[in-house]
């Protein structure tokens, strides 16, 4: 919403500075977006008279003018074709900054003649595009006077961002009213002189809205005959231009002016182009309208239209039609002043994609009483600017009931707003805003003005008092905290996620945050892509489906980095993955990806591509940090299809899978354009059992004083036998004695029988009560060998026994 200072002063008697007004507007909730104040910039330009214009002695196209600037006469070299003796023009002296060209005038010799100033075009003043000639001023322009104030060309322009509840301030008058209530001047009463009609209107209103009467509860209008639709006066054009509206013709400008000035959208039909009566109705299927913006809109039965006997003439509350619009030939017009339903207007405007000044106001709520006074305001301006003769007023429908009083306890300003405001001041603020205040009882009855449909209850009245009194007056009050120390802010899930992040970063992975959506194709490749998780209105096909896993996002992230030449590193993300659209269908997961080599090349290390054991270690680190019992996890070779089928696995507790890991499927890598190893893991944080200790007490350390001993065994097993089977068998063989089993070598080679491999383990025996003698060690070794043979089909190959 834009307006100028002089326009505001039409409604508000104030001496407040532009800066003060801007400050107060923001303080009362009418947030200033921009203030354009050109007064200082335009101050040096004065009205001058060209005493004489004669040809330049050395240049055909130039003239040398003698200019009277009110205090002296100066020579000016001028190239404008319209410069001539006797004319009045805008003069700028040496040292003046010219806004349009950005230069500062200096004394300069032009082909032998030295000019002492400049005669300016509208373009040079930044007042228009015209730079073909200098500005010609009327004969009565006062020589020596500052040009811009005299011409009204330096009117400061304010722009405010209007919140959607303040339709009443979509008008200069509404803004003036708020400022007056805030103590910035006094509201002026607008001229109000109703004109009675002298004849019956040849066009009448009909409402055929059926059960949709609320689409347009009331419409009024009147006929004007013998009008002259030329251009509107300078003052009106200047104001419209200042706020970015293009003057068109007197009638159109009047409707635009009243829309901005009073927040009252109007429409005028060329009555000679209207056939029969005008009807307010819903559009019929198949109807369309060629509108004033040059576009043709297809209408539907949810859209309110104004139609004559033949066709649709306007879209209610949004835009008029081209065919029945006014031109300079228009002689007879019919004025429309209507009320339209905010919701329906908003919906229709959105559907049609039309943003108009009328829609902007109707969807925020237009003062219902303006149907009455709007007719008179329009009549005043039409008769004044276009002449003609007004008919009697016609209308259809009924005025909506006025707002009901709202019970209000003035004490609520303190108990809700936190600041003490005296009751008298509260009453004065509300009255200043147009509220009816009945304050004889402890609970006041406050009646909102008709132009404030947003007032809904007591809290709204508290806000009205507070915003005019000033939010700055509310003291910063500390909140008392219950208890000596605050409760822990982060719950278990937050703490768990933070620990997982720290653990994965400690493993060299960088944390990333990626979008929750991926392409449907990628979602399907990772086991998702259900229609129920697809966006109805995605921003792009690449981001149209909620991800079933974090890994597709990380695959994309890896590819983006490889495309930038970054590799041999890794990323992780702790975030959401989506199984279904229900609240329970959202899982918390930690995903990691390593792409390229497991580490950058190093002089002392062999280069090796990231593989499933890197991913497995990432998964284990994340699980440990998440509180999972890592030692009890069962690895199983049953990872999902997006992994390399032979180089992947899961970590599970019984049937519950806690993590998947492995090398991503080569086909996925190919599709992502990745030609390097990619290992990934995903940990399902929701599946990790709660392992929090109930108490901080850890009990005593149970440590044997006897030295542990280590024995190595190498077993020949079938190649398909998991090493874990050997380890598990050895561990269970003498559970009281075996404290640890580690695989230290795995070998498949030609020296072994076909289909077999060697698994070498180191077993740590921890004597409990007494040292082990040779016989006891031998018994343990025999038991281990027997157990591995029985449970894993292993045959002892060598080692200590």
């Amino acid at each position: 919403m834009k307006f100028t200072l002089s326009w505001l002063r039409e409604h508000l008697d104030t001496d407040a500075s532009v800066a003060d007004i801007a400050h107060r507007l923001t303080a009362i909730g009418l947030e200033i977006e921009a203030v354009e104040d050109r007064r200082e910039e335009l101050a040096p330009f004065v009205v001058g008279r060209v005493v004489e214009a004669r040809p330049h002695p050395n240049a055909d196209r130039l003239k040398v003018c003698t200019v009277d600037n009110g205090s002296t006469t100066l020579p000016v070299v001028c190239g404008a074709p319209n410069a001539r003796t006797g004319m009045k023009a805008v003069f700028a002296g040496i040292g003046t900054h010219i806004p349009g060209s950005g230069i500062t005038l200096a004394e300069k010799e032009i082909r032998g003649v030295t000019g002492q100033g400049m005669l300016c075009s509208a373009y040079e003043l930044g007042l228009g595009e015209d730079h073909d000639g200098i500005i010609e001023l009327p004969e009565d322009a006062p020589v020596g006077a500052a040009y811009a104030p005299w011409a009204g060309a330096d009117d400061p322009v304010f722009e405010i961002a209007l919140t959607p509840n303040r339709g009443d301030c979509a008008s200069v008058r509404g803004i003036a009213r708020d400022l007056a209530a805030a103590g910035v001047g006094t509201l002026r009463e607008p001229p109000f002189a109703p004109v009675s009609g002298t004849y019956a209107s040849p066009v009448a209103w009909t409402r055929t809205l059926g059960d949709r009467g609320d689409a347009c509860p009331l419409v009024a209008g009147r006929y004007f005959r013998n009008v002259t639709n030329s251009h509107s006066p300078d003052w009106m054009q200047r104001r419209l231009r200042a706020i970015g509206l293009r003057p068109i013709s007197a009638l159109v400008d009047i409707t635009n002016y009243v829309t901005i000035d009073r927040g009252r959208p109007l429409h005028v039909f060329d009555a000679d182009k209207v056939t029969g009566a005008l009807t307010m109705r819903m559009a019929r299927p198949g109807e369309s309208l060629a509108a004033l913006d040059g576009n043709t809109y297809s209408l539907d039965p949810d859209i309110t239209v104004i139609a004559d006997d033949d066709r649709v003439c306007a879209i209610g509350g949004i835009m008029g039609g081209e065919e029945t619009g006014c031109s300079e030939k228009t002689r007879n017009v019919f004025l429309e002043v209507a009320l339209f339903d905010p919701v329906r207007t908003a919906r229709s405007g959105r559907r049609l994609g039309i943003l108009s000044d009328a829609r902007y106001r109707f969807e925020r709520g237009v003062d219902p009483a303006s149907v009455d006074w709007g007719v008179h305001e329009a009549t005043r301006l039409i008769l004044e600017l276009c002449g003609g003769e007004a008919s009697e007023i016609v209308q259809a429908g009924a005025m909506p009931p006025p707002p009901a009083p709202v019970p209000f306890r003035p004490g609520r300003v303190m108990s809700l707003g936190g600041v003490e405001v005296a009751a008298e001041r509260q009453a004065a603020i509300l009255a200043g805003l147009g509220f009816g205040v009945e304050d004889s009882a402890p609970v006041w009855q406050v009646t909102p003005p008709v132009w404030r449909p947003d007032i809904d209850g007591e809290a709204d009245l508290v806000e009205e008092v507070l915003r005019i009194h000033g939010f700055d007056a509310i003291p910063e009050t500390p909140v008392e905290r219950a208890g000596v120390l605050p409760e822990r802010a982060a719950g278990p899930a937050v703490v768990q996620a933070a620990r997982v992040r720290a653990a994965l970063a400690a493993r060299g992975l960088h944390e990333t945050v990626t979008f929750s959506f991926v392409s449907a194709e990628l979602a399907r490749a990772f086991g998702g892509g259900d229609e129920a998780l697809q966006l109805a209105n995605p921003i792009s096909p690449e981001l149209d489906t909620m991800r079933p896993s974090i890994l597709p996002s990380l695959l994309g992230a890896a590819a983006a980095n490889v495309a930038r030449g970054v590799r041999d590193t890794g990323l992780f993300e702790v975030g959401a993955a989506y199984r279904d659209p229900s609240p329970d269908g959202e899982g918390r997961a930690a995903g990691c990806v390593r792409f390229g080599n497991a580490a950058p090349r190093h002089w002392a290390e062999a280069v090796r591509g990231a593989d499933l054991f890197d991913a497995k270690a990432d998964a284990e680190a994340a699980l440990a940090a998440a509180g999972a019992p890592v030692a009890r996890l069962q690895p199983r070779a049953e990872a999902p299809a997006w992994f390399h089928p032979g180089h992947s696995g899961v970590l599970a507790l019984g049937p519950k899978v806690l993590a998947v890991f492995g090398e991503l499927h080569p086909r996925l890598l190919r599709d992502a354009g990745l030609d390097l190893p990619v290992a990934a893991a995903e940990v399902f944080l929701d599946a990790v059992p709660d392992s929090r200790r109930k108490s901080g007490n850890r009990g005593a350390l149970d440590r044997s004083s006897l030295m542990p001993l280590t024995r190595d065994f190498a077993f020949l097993v079938e190649a398909a036998t998991p090493a874990a089977a050997v380890v598990r068998a050895a561990g269970r063989a003498v559970p009281k004695l075996v404290s640890r089993v580690d695989v230290f070598d795995v070998w498949e080679g030609e020296d072994l029988p076909g289909g077999m491999k060697s698994v070498a383990i180191e077993v740590v025996l921890q004597p409990q009560d007494q040292p082990l003698d040779d016989a006891a060690i031998q018994r343990a070794a025999d038991a281990i060998v027997a157990a591995v043979a029985k449970d894993a089909g292993g045959r002892l190959r060598g080692g200590h026994a």
């Binding site: 809700l416 719950g491 720290a502 995605p538």
Partner: protein, 362 residues
């Protein structure tokens, strides 16, 4: 007798000289055998002591044992010094190029969003707020209706809100457009008093230089019997000053409009322009950073909370915006690009989680 002893002294002298002359462990071992071995001259003399007359035997034995002790000691010392020399020689030969890179395992960096959320949670936790969470995929009721956002409100239109496809005629779900539905879940979950913060992902159907289709908010909600807008202002001011680590940040409340609060305010904080950008703190300019207000009575009604007993305040702020302001990150879009160079530069050491003991600054 004296001949016997002087013979022993001469032997000792010769052997000690041999010990000192030994140039390496092998030569020293030969000397040791010659001096103290079974067949050594000294051993022979010790045996001969037994044949001496009784009155001389004792003194001679003592003398010879002393010689033996001295020889043994000299051998040990020589042994030790020869070993030292060998070690020195070996060490002198062993010279690594210590400028070669270590077997380093550089840790990864934490994302600025995690860091910022941790800082915010830490400050607000101190003020008595606890983290609450809600789903990203919401229903119309929690995201809009219960928050008093009428169906015709622009925030409810397709231009801003992501909708999921409706399957089998069920109500279409939305991606939450703000963290405010967590307010509704908290209000419906139990009796006040309530003091929660809800950090998390939010989604808007918008993408340009200053908008991403996904971003993070942190919502705050405090409900009690007597909370006023003064408490809201105090909470926000304390939070902002703690977050930016500056007591001179001025906080300005401006009247505004949100369907779910009444009165409503936009919060501006003071800053000044510097050569390097902008600096939060005392200064003549204002920066809009969040929206807030007193919870609308209709929101309380919608959640079954008695508006005549309970009241309170709520706010919502953009986490990325605060991170950008505090850490000088120029572009919102880069938060979600997974650019390793960016993550290394703007990321944080994960071993140093912000807390009030260590301080909040990285």
């Amino acid at each position: 007798m004296s001949t016997f002893l002087s013979q022993a002294d001469a032997l000792e002298e010769a052997l000690l000289a041999a010990v000192q002359a030994a140039a390496n462990p092998d030569e020293l071992e030969a000397v040791r055998i010659r001096a103290l071995g079974r067949k050594s001259e000294l051993n022979g003399m010790l045996r001969a002591v037994a044949a001496l007359p009784g009155n001389e035997r004792r003194a001679a034995g003592q003398h010879l044992n002393a010689v033996k002790e001295r020889l043994a000691s000299a051998l040990r010392e020589r042994q030790s010094s020869l070993e030292d020399a060998t070690l020195e020689a070996r060490l002198a030969a062993e010279r690594a190029d210590i400028t070669l890179p270590s077997r380093r395992q550089p840790p990864g960096r934490g994302h600025p969003i995690s860091r910022t959320l941790d800082e915010m949670t830490s400050i607000l936790g101190e003020l008595g707020f606890q983290v609450a969470e809600g789903p990203h995929i919401e229903d119309d009721f929690h995201n809009f209706t219960a928050l008093n956002i009428p169906p015709e409100h622009p925030a409810r239109q397709d231009v801003d809100t992501f909708y999921l496809r409706s399957v089998d005629g069920s109500e279409r779900k939305v991606l939450r457009t703000h963290t405010s539905p967590v307010q509704i879940r908290a209000l419906m979950a139990g009796e006040p008093p309530i003091r929660i913060i809800a950090p998390g992902r939010t989604f808007r159907c918008d993408r340009d230089a200053t908008h991403a289709p996904m971003f993070h908010q942190i919502e705050g909600l405090a409900i009690d019997r007597d909370l006023t807008m003064g408490h809201l202002k105090g909470t926000i001011a304390t939070f902002v000053r703690a977050f930016f680590g500056r007591d001179d940040v001025e906080v300005r409340f401006r009247p505004s409009y949100f369907p779910f609060t009444e009165p409503s305010a936009e919060v501006d904080i003071s800053y000044r322009r510097t050569a390097g950008g902008l600096e939060i703190g005392a200064g003549g300019d204002w920066l809009e950073v969040m929206g807030c207000g007193m919870v609308h009575p209709r929101v309380l009604d919608n959640c079954g909370v008695d508006r005549n007993v309970w009241q309170g305040f709520a706010w919502g702020l953009g986490v990325e915006r605060f991170a950008m302001l505090k850490y000088g990150i120029p572009d919102l879009r880069t938060f979600f690009e997974s650019d390793v160079a960016w993550l290394r530069h703007y990321g944080f050491d994960m071993l140093a989680r912000p807390n009030l003991l260590d301080g909040l600054d990285p």
